[in-house]
Structure formats: structure tokens, C-alpha cells
Amino acid sequence: MEEVNLVAESFKFMFLGMGVVFIFLLVLIEVMKLQAKIITKYFPDEEPVTPVTKSSKDEEQKRVAAIIGAVSEFRKNKQNKV
């Protein structure tokens, strides 16, 4: 008799427990969505300053020079192999 009662009781625990966990998380999800909406609208992260704007002409030229050097080196190697 008592055994049956206990099992029934534990089923009630399950409904209560799973119910509360789900309600908590569902509310949490809604809050997360709301918070994302508000924050991305009113307090967006400042965009990090992109390095492209920083690079001056000199750097650009250096980069091109490096690429040319690498390519010519690569070609030389290839010729050597053949």
C-alpha cells in the first residue's frame, strides 16, 4: 500500500520538477531573445577598427613586394625540379 503511494508521489515529483525546469528555461529563452533584441538595437558593440584602413601605401607596397618575391621563388624552385 505504502509502496504504491511512494511511486505515485514520485510521479508527482516528476511532473512538478520537469514542469518547473521547463518553465524556467522557457522564460529564460524568451528573456534571452528579448535581451538580444534590446541590446543589439540600443547598445551595439563598437565595430573593431579594421586593419585595412590603417594600412598605409607603404605597407601595401611591402605586401605586394613580398608576394612577388614569394611567387618568383616558387617558380624558381619549380624550374629547378623540372
Binding site: 511511486v7 514520485s10 518547473v20 524556467f24 528555461l25 522557457l26 522564460v27
Partner: protein
Amino acid sequence: MKLKQLLLSLLFIFTIAISSAHASSGHDAPVIEEGKQEYQSKTLSELASSFWATTGINAILDTDDGEMTSEPAGPSAERPMTWFESSLGRIIMIIIVFILFYLAIAKNFEPLLLIPIAFGGLLANIPLAHMGGEHGMLGVIYNMGIANEFFPLLIFMGVGAMTDFGPLLANPKTAILGGAAQFGIFGSLIGAVAIGFDLQDASAISIIGGADGPTSIFIANRLAPDMLGAIAVAAYSYMALVPVIQPPIMRALTTKEERRIKMGVLRKVNKLEKLVFPIVILMLSMLILPESTPLIGAFAFGNFAKESGVVDRLSDTMQNSLINIVTIFLGLGVGSKLAADKFLVVETMGIMIIGLLAFSAGTAVGVLMARLMNKFSDKDNQINPLIGAAGVSAVPMSARVVSKVGSEERPGNVLLMHAMGPNVAGVIGSAVAAGVLLSIFK
């Protein structure tokens, strides 16, 4: 003259010795007195035999020596050991401890916890030393932070400082999976009651399904302190066994197609969102379930300190030195419950079985829930059901397992970040579930 002085001083010492022997009649003095008094008349064989009585060999062989169990609560809680506990039981426990050492060192199963726990178990099974008693090393540690639930909270603080809520914030609906996996707790509660545990004990055992060590210890301590050792050991060993237990369940409950699903890239989460989130969780638990706020509060504090970005020293301490120190103490303290008289009881077997059941059920329901969610989601936002398995907390182990199984099905499919969402939601979910259980027995 000198002789007279010597005689006088000798007499003086003698009188003091006699009078002190008569005067003192407490618990602490007699041991020294007996040694002093009997020293005169003892033969070598008597000496040897009285020494023999204090050896561990004798304590293990002589089962009728009336040795008491060691209880951190003090002498009032002690009881004489049975013959099994003081002899064979110790040996069995020491063998179990060696198995735990093996698992930790050779198999790398949660060594950070299993090593301190197992060593604590080794110390707790030493006869006559009473290390688990009120004034023993393990007993002191136990009273310092486990009997009052302090250490689990400190661990939770550190876990909070280590947690990144970014993946959850980027994809909030995965929090549902962290909730579904808590079915492991409540489903196994029914199982535990069905095999004869009472409701409080059953609740304490089933929280193993939350796959969260600190939470398990916290609840076990409140609801079933006698079973703390077995519950903690079960919780940590199953967490260590996540890579073994979860994959077969995950494969059995999903189709190959589903396991191959690729998930989109997560959006970048705003810094402010991350900063506000721990406060939001705390406010929610404050409103809905204050009973869970010790756990969630410590967790939120750690996370808030990390995300605030201005107290790096504090968050660094929480997630490194503090959590390391507490882990040592927590492990040794829990280990004290591995004493034969506490661990080798019939309930331990039940705890191990129910724990495994809880863990598997949590994984299964998480995966099934993810499958269901995938059915209802549109083509662009598909959900790989594997990530449901990460809903049992076990951070970050289960998320890694999900990622591994996923990349086995489709190389290059990295699910780790997607699995972290349900994973951290699982931590919150199990803390909430713990709060519900506590509120029932309030």
C-alpha cells in the same frame, strides 16, 4: 650536600608524578600514565604484545576489538564496527581504491577528482587512526566545507568563471535541450522509489542524472548525508564515463542522416549580453525558485566576475587556484565517506544502478527532444539531434563527446560550439531541478 639535593629533587619529581597520576582522571591522560606505570613491570613479551595490539594487522585480524567507526560529527554518532567492517570490508575498500587509482591514472577518468577521492578513501580505511573522525584530518576537512555545503558552492563559482554563455545566447532555443535532459533526474527518481528507497534518499540519488558533481554533493548532503560518499563517487565516475556511456545511446536513437546534419554558424554575441546574462539568471531563480539560488548565485557570481572584464585577477583565481584548492579538499572530504562502514552497504549497489539509469535516461531524452525540435525547425536552422546529449551538464565533456561523434559521421562537421549551448543550459537546468527537490523537502 650534593647527594642530599639530588635525593630531594628525585623525591620531588616522584611526588609530582604520583599526585598527577591520582589527580587526573580524564580521557586524555590515562594512555601516558599506563605506559609510565606499567613500564616497570613489563617483560619483553608483554611489551611486544601490547605493541601488537596497536598494529593495523591486529586491528584487521581481531574483529572483536570493539573499534568504533569514525564520524566527523563527533563521538555521539559513533558506533562499534561489525566484524565485516573492521576486517574484510577494509580490504575490499582498499582494493576498490586501487581500482579508482587505476581508472584515474591509466584510463584518465576524471583524475582531478578521482585521485583525491580515492586517496581520501585509502586514508579513511586505515584502522585505529580515526582520520575520518572529528579531530582527524579528513573529518576536519569534512566539517570545514562539506557538512555545511560550502565546497560545492566554491566549485560552482569556479565553474561559473570558466563558463562561456556565448553559444547559448547565440542560439537560445537550445536551452530546451538542457531541460529535457533533466528527465534523467526525475525518471530515475521513480526507479529509485520503485526499488525501495524512501523519497528523500531517492531524490538524492537521482540527482546523479544531472551529471553535475557539485550539485550532487550539495543535494546528497541535505537529503541523504549517509549516502554522500556513494553518490559522489557514482556521479563522478559516470561523468568520467561519459565518452563510454553516451555514444551508443546517441547512435541508437538517431538516424545516420540526422547525425550528418550541419548546423549554421552561430552569430557573434554582444559583450553586454554576456555581462547581463548572469544577473538575468539570478533574478529569474530569485523569482521562481529561491531554493536554487545558493548554487545559481555562486555560478552567476563567477560568471559575472569573468564577463565584467575588470576583475581578471579574481576570476582568474576562481577558475584556477581557488577551484584547485577546493578540489583537493572536496576530494579528500568525500573520500572519507569511502570508509568500509559507510560505503559497503546494500544501498551502494542501488545507487550505482540508479545513477547509471539516470545518466542514460537524461542522454536519451535529450537526444529525442533534439530530434523533435529538428522536425519542427525549418531547412536553414536544422538541429543535429546529437547536441541533445550535451543537455546533461558534465561540462565540457559531453559537448566534446557530441562533437566527436558528429565528426565521425561527417568529417569536418564541428558541433562543439553548438553543443556548448545545451551543455551550459544543462548546468542551469540541474541546479533548478536540485532547487525543486530541496523545496519539496523544505
